[in-house]
Homo-oligomer: 368 residues x 2
């Protein structure tokens, strides 16, 4: 019995759900005739990475050079580092570019000049485009900034312009499919327009588009060349609230021991807090923040018949659960509760490995 | 030059400040004639633990059995695991209790009975008391629950009752010294009353009191026997907002490379996000959330003349900084920004080691 081996906070993984999530996205990409270049920062695992290969995935996205090195070790040789180049890591970048086909993200002439001076191997680069998310990237309308980057690459021996990259991170604030669709349409319009403007001079350029919500909700990506969602491999409660997945698609769950029970206030306390789940939160229908949703566990699988119980507070190692009447009746100290995370990327990042519902440990990157 | 060695998000540590923070708390404890049993979950480091020994600290607090094992390896032999006992870890508990003087936290008869049946070595235990924080522990007024625990230990060969433990976690919601003082007085009253009620039958019992805000703000702890604050070793912006420390006492800071600069919106983007800082937030005077405060760095030290710049958003690896005019003027891609964290415990937990302002790497527990 799976839960009987668990003695501490443990990140469970339902492999069948992961495979279904990968298959669905791979099929979608295929139907749109775009490359699926999944973001591997979500799972950070060699083994899970290998599962993607069975669905034809050959190119990947990561968020740091160290993470790129980790996946290069396992044979991935077409890696996009989807983070504005950190010029301080030029040695690491040069070393890696000598081993694999590396694509980087650039968004200023200043960085281009530094790279042009210091790169020892040729790399492909995307220009990072912002279409309203406001995190980073060049505003889609700022053609001067784009041109000033291309002025450098046009004469560079090492910097090869391959197109435009964007991350529609503002879909994470949506609560319905419609606004996600609207954001997608805006990004699509902006990116396509950009391609049109530069295609004469750069006929080979590509458009790379990402974010799990829109890649999950939309169907036709044929105006792009590549999609790079990441979270879809696991999904989580945040994606459920966005309407990007069904709760049944969530492929990871925390398993945590109950360490205290408070009858009078209908709460139980688990060994499992901010250092395990992260402190990412979402909003309950009754307008309170929560940090994870309790699900039933039967026949070695979790089931989504929500018990109405949720983590209402986390401190470093404690989680305090607002428990339904049903949960209060059956919960005892020493039982294991299974809990869907709010943000699977952050929870997976915090945990040292996965335990599949078949009882197998799956190792992951130690992040160092 | 310190910042010149930094190429990735790095947790800086000002050893002089750490030592001053330890000294101040040790002196306070001495003046009140109470034992300082510092909570080591904040720093999680053998080396930093050793610094406490110079101030007479012999007993420590940790938040998990694994963390207790880590410190036992470095010679600590009087360890309180200040987390409700997880009965599933009985083997680990027995193994550790055979090596060191272990004190545990109990809050139900049910757990007492399990422990009594399965402990192979005698351990001391505190009863965990709640005086309004509402996380976990027995309500201070619930003498029946306390008595039902003592019924078990009175006839147990392994469970040795040593007193009452409480954590005044509700001081973390305070914004001034006065409400912290009020909370302290309430806890003091409740705990002293409890001791009076049980001292006839248990003349040796002790009171253990904690939380950094009140241990920092109050001076007289003589009604307790032991204090167990943790965060004070580093302090952070959260403690500053509570008025528990001056900003000058904050002894850790993140150093992060600038990877992008957005002139029009006066923002810079750093390599440094939720996986480095954690996603803990606090509120700015202008009523927006923030995730870290930028400080000046000169002559190998950070300085608290706030530049009016702060992290306004974090995603997994990105931090977006709302930059003052001054910062916008001088900041360039490739520069390192130094940033005081909101919650040092969570930031330290997320980072793999410390770099002192003298350039020395300090290793810490890997948490596994």
């Amino acid at each position: 019995m799976l839960l009987e081996q668990i003695k501490e906070p443990t990140l469970l993984l339902d492999k069948a759900k992961v495979l279904r999530n990968i298959e669905r996205m791979a099929k979608k990409a295929e139907e749109s005739n775009v490359v699926l270049r999944p973001h591997f920062k979500t799972h950070q695992s060699h083994e899970i990475g290998r599962w993607f290969r069975d669905y034809g995935v050959k190119s990947i996205t990561v968020s740091s050079l160290r993470m790129a090195e980790y996946f290069a070790e396992d044979g991935w040789d077409d890696i996009l580092v989807a983070f504005p180049v950190n010029v301080l890591e030029i040695d690491r970048l040069n070393a890696l570019a000598a081993r694999v086909k590396l694509t980087i993200l650039v968004e200023s002439r200043e960085v281009m000049e530094k790279l042009d001076a210091e790169l020892t191997t040729a790399v492909d680069f995307y220009i990072n485009i912002d279409i309203g998310y406001g995190r980073t990237g060049i505003m889609v309308t700022d053609l001067d900034a784009i041109d000033s980057i291309l002025d450098v690459s046009d004469v560079s021996k090492t910097l090869n312009f391959i197109g435009f990259y964007t991350h529609a991170g503002n879909t994470y604030k949506c609560k319905k499919k419609k606004p996600v669709t609207d954001i997608f349409k805006l990004y699509e319009h902006g990116m396509v327009r950009l391609k049109e403007q530069y295609t004469m001079d750069y006929p080979e350029i590509k458009l790379s588009y990402g974010d799990t919500p829109s890649c999950s909700i939309l169907k036709d990506f044929s105006n792009f060349d590549e999609i790079h969602p990441g979270n879809f491999v696991f999904y989580d409660m945040q994606q459920k609230h966005i309407s990007a997945c069904s709760i049944d698609s969530i492929a990871v769950a925390m398993a945590c021991p109950i360490v205290a029970k408070h009858e009078r206030r209908s709460e139980v306390v688990i060994y499992g807090g901010g250092v395990h789940f992260s402190t990412e939160r979402a909003r309950r229908p009754e307008n309170v923040d929560y940090f994870g949703l309790i699900v039933a566990f039967k026949k070695e699988k979790w089931h989504v018949n929500e018990m109405g119980s949720f983590i209402r507070a986390v401190s470093q190692e404690h989680g305090v659960i607002k428990a339904s009447e049903e949960l209060m009746k059956k919960a005892s100290v020493g039982d294991i509760l299974v809990i869907l995370p709010i943000h699977a990327c952050m929870t997976a990042d915090a945990m040292p490995h996965y335990l599949t519902t078949e009882g197998e440990i799956i190792e992951k990157w130690d992040g160092k």
